[in-house]
Amino acid sequence: MLIEAKTSFVTVDEDHDYAARTIDYEPENRNTAPRRRFHLYLMLPAIITLAAITIYPFFWLIYMSLHKIVIGGADRWVGLKNYAGLLTDEKNIQGWLMLAKYSGLCLSFEILVGVLLAVILNNSRFEKVLVTLVLMPMMMSPVVAGLLWYYLYNGTFGWYHWLFQSLGLLGETSILADYGSALWGVVIVDIWQWTPLITLIALAGLKRVPRDQVEAHMVDGAGPIRNFFAISLPNIYPFLLIGILLRFMDNFRFIDHILAMTGGGPGNSTRILPVYLFDVSFQFFKLGRGAAIAFTLLAVTIILGMILVRVFENPAQKKALANQKD
């Protein structure tokens, strides 16, 4: 409306209140109050949609965590009782410890194997075919991957079970039935499925390592291993950071394959916090307690994520990355 007015103000009767206001309007002056309001109106549909799908559920989560939720009945205000309960909940504490162990194992192996694979694949003879093959696990649904490995681990007909047993690595019990090895069982599936993501990211980073720097370093007197640590690694570092961040957040959220394989068992040996959260909320329907766990999990994810970015990202590398984009 204002734009229309701007172009036609010459013909508008100056006595008219509306016209008088628009005559003051300068096209260069883009940040006037009416203009800003107009922008707000334009953005409103998007804001409302966003609020409905993210902000409302977020506050509903906080609401739930502060109440005793009675399904089909009235919710009762309990204050911070749900949170207080978590401190003495042994399964909750154990869930956290297990989550840390699970995430640490997954991440470290995925980074190690992923980068190693990327280095091997980079500029190899059949790179394109091999990369496609390596990426295949990632394309599988996590539940399907879980079921697939569930069968491979199976004590009576599982192929890997048979293999490990023949190698003398395994006793009679299957991997997932043993308290000691069950966590490793699900960790291996996560590594199997998500190492390709790290490989892909590292490979993209390796492609951008400036060749002349590598060559200069070789002429300076470095062998391939020193070359990797001195030139390639600092160059793929920012890319890896993104990979670590993504995988760490996924580890805190995705439990599809665990639910498909063990459901948290045997005993509590694979009941990492998100699995316990699922149990509390949707097995025992303690929605208030569940919401409290979910909120703490969310808070810790955000805080850890921010720390990761702070610690790993130093300004020099940021600039180096920006320079590469030129």
Partner: protein, 362 residues
Amino acid sequence: MVALKIENVWKYYGDTVAVRDLNLECDDGEFVCMLGPSGCGKSSTMRMLAGLEHISSGDILLGDRRINDLAPKDRDIAMVFENYALYPHKTVAENIGNPLRLAKVAKHEIRKRVQEAADLLEIGHLLDRKPMELSGGQKQRVAIGRVIVRQPQIYLFDEPIAHLDAKLRARMRSELKHLQQHLGVTTVYVTHDQLEALSMADRIAVMHEGVLQQFGTPAEIYSNPVNAWVAGFVGEPAMNLIACSCAQEGNAVNLMHDGFKITLDDRLAKAALSSGERDLRLGVRPENVRLTADPDDGMIAGTVFSRQLLGSDMLVDVLSGGDHIRVRTDPKSPFEADEKCYVSFDFDHAHLFSAETGISIV
């Protein structure tokens, strides 16, 4: 500091030949430029010297050591790259000291030698900066610093000053030349800029399409090019190469052209006759062409096509018989475009090339 010997070296990329049967010898302490347009094989040769490229066949010897199968780190060479190839996450001091650090030289020794190299290059005050905080010229000095901090057997320079602006380039040419003489290390310098090669090298190896065309001192290359290609590539503004046919009329040997007919002097006439070639190309550098307004015996008539002021000289382009003749003349030259004029050649500095093979006849 040793002599470098390249013997029958070939380089293939698939079926493409990049370097064809190259033979080259650089003396101890010599500054050799490899000159040629892009794709002439000069960079491939340098990369083979550095060990960054496999040698398809032939031998490269440093002193009496065959280095074909040595990894770059075992060759004892130092190289400056075209894009400087500095390590962005390292400081200037770390960049310069990197080869020493890799060679496990003691820390205080590294610090001392880095400081010496930096002082020599006048970048001592920049040692704590990162490469992205430096200008192009400073980066280039750091790249050179990384090379001179060592005492390798040979220096390799791959178009190190190609990305600098013209003024800085001129200064770096003289500094590099001075540095090389001061350090006395055998140096191979790759460039596509003939001015760089002429001004810096002890000897120039001119390459074209993977073949070494001529290897000689800058003066030799400039005044006695072995073929029309070298003649046209070296020198700025380029040599006039005019296609003519040669005919004997009585005692005189004439060069016939659409726009003119000129009689050769004894030296050129003898060579033209003994070669037996009919189709020739006359090569005359612009500074060896005279431009006048008044016609005289044996002068060529033409019209001024364009004039360019080069500062100390004026380059006048004269159109005669469909060919352009470049003349280097006085900057106060009065000729204007489309004006009629006359040119004559200084035969003492003229060359004749076979039109068919391009080989120099005289």
